[in-house]
Symmetry: C2
Subunit: 225 residues, 2 copies
Amino acid sequence: ILEAKNIQKTYLLGKTELHALNNISLSLEQSELISLVGPSGSGKTTLLNILGCLDSPSSGQLFFQGQNMSQKKERELAEFRRTHFGYIFQFFNLIPVLTALENVAFPLWQTRLSRKEINKKASQILEIIGLGKFAHHKPDELSGGQQQRVAAARALISDPQIIFADEPTGNLDSQTGQQMMELLKTINKEKGTTVVIATHDSRVISQTRRIIEIKDGEIRSDEKN
Amino acid sequence: ILEAKNIQKTYLLGKTELHALNNISLSLEQSELISLVGPSGSGKTTLLNILGCLDSPSSGQLFFQGQNMSQKKERELAEFRRTHFGYIFQFFNLIPVLTALENVAFPLWQTRLSRKEINKKASQILEIIGLGKFAHHKPDELSGGQQQRVAAARALISDPQIIFADEPTGNLDSQTGQQMMELLKTINKEKGTTVVIATHDSRVISQTRRIIEIKDGEIRSDEKN
Ligand SMILES: Nc1ncnc2c1ncn2[C@@H]1O[C@H](COP(=O)(O)OP(=O)(O)OP(=O)(O)O)[C@@H](O)[C@H]1O
Ligand SMILES: Nc1ncnc2c1ncn2[C@@H]1O[C@H](COP(=O)(O)OP(=O)(O)OP(=O)(O)O)[C@@H](O)[C@H]1O
Ligand SMILES: [Mg+2]
Ligand SMILES: [Mg+2]
């Protein structure tokens, strides 16, 4: 469903070129549960953002169900992302002036659902991730791990076809981290959502079915687990 | 060296009261290497910020070497923090317009050292944490874990008496995370710096000499390791 061909991402810093991604080619199928593993600075976030059509490669192509995403205009891409993808960002990217409930409900505000239905759905997801009592807290009134879970709830509410999760357990203790993993596994199993997780957490990696190892911007291995 | 007595921290959200910290009393000695452990939302960041004089308790007192910190004015406290404490924040709090080198050098800009000496020291610390080549990157030109390491280097450069580290390995792979731990252990051993680490990472906890467990804002256990 998602195919990356010869993806290159080069940053120019002053006079030096930094190759964050070097000639990466990858194929993802529907309903896969994948971990993207590698040391700090190896290119996980950069690759996840290109696969999720949030960033464009310096060269190479990305195809989604055969469509060449590199040729789409930004407005088309934005609409496409909103209807097909869900993101759990490494630093959450929550909207500071909205409460936890509003942040989770936000992706559905542009749909035809009523505000009442949207808030009900958002409350249910908050309950599932253990934050039912924190619905009216703003992000700066939540702990680091609580913010991370709100970011996860927001990614799930619009029932995306693919979820891109960047270090979703970095700020969570092992029990809460496992709750997060159970949630991603359930959505993958029951709805067939493709889930791609950039992570260092061995407990997460061991529960995925495919492990892609990246180092210095290159894929070192890509194996079934 | 640091003594907390009956610390209470209560947040008022609309009409509900949230007790983030409940009657916490603690004594820290010089040169201790301590981990503060507990689930997401248990009060680690709140306690660390009160111990580090960045936040004041709703009630209770904090004494540093016998001085009552609750009675100091904000300006006195700011000067005091700058000369005695180092912080590694959960979300780094790097200054976006400064490069990695400038962020690390920043705490020394108000001292009598020459800019040349300061930059040399900052470069050395960046080299130690593996980011020598990234000195001129700005925070948004660094990966999550690279930013975390810059935040750690900044906390160490002013040779503080106590370092408060909030989840310093959350965004790091196990090898880079261990480098970070080695750095904190070395500074604790060679300079006698007190190090307090809020963490979920079992590999960090096992390398500390005292483990304080917190849950729902209360201390559950406080034991030598
Ligand atoms: N400004 C605030 N207003 C209201 N509640 C707050 C505020 N800041 C924190 N809290 C609440 O206080 C509790 C403790 O938060 P704290 O950030 O100390 O937890 P933590 O142990 O650091 O968690 P994590 O491991 O997820 O970072 C949380 O339940 C949080 O929602
Ligand atoms: N805007 C930028 N300009 C220059 N270099 C950048 C930029 N963004 C990222 N980089 C560099 O690209 C490399 C890959 O970064 P990336 O964020 O993808 O790593 P990562 O694998 O997600 O790391 P982490 O696990 O620490 O989050 C890093 O060395 C980083 O310094
Ligand atoms: Mg990253
Ligand atoms: Mg915290």
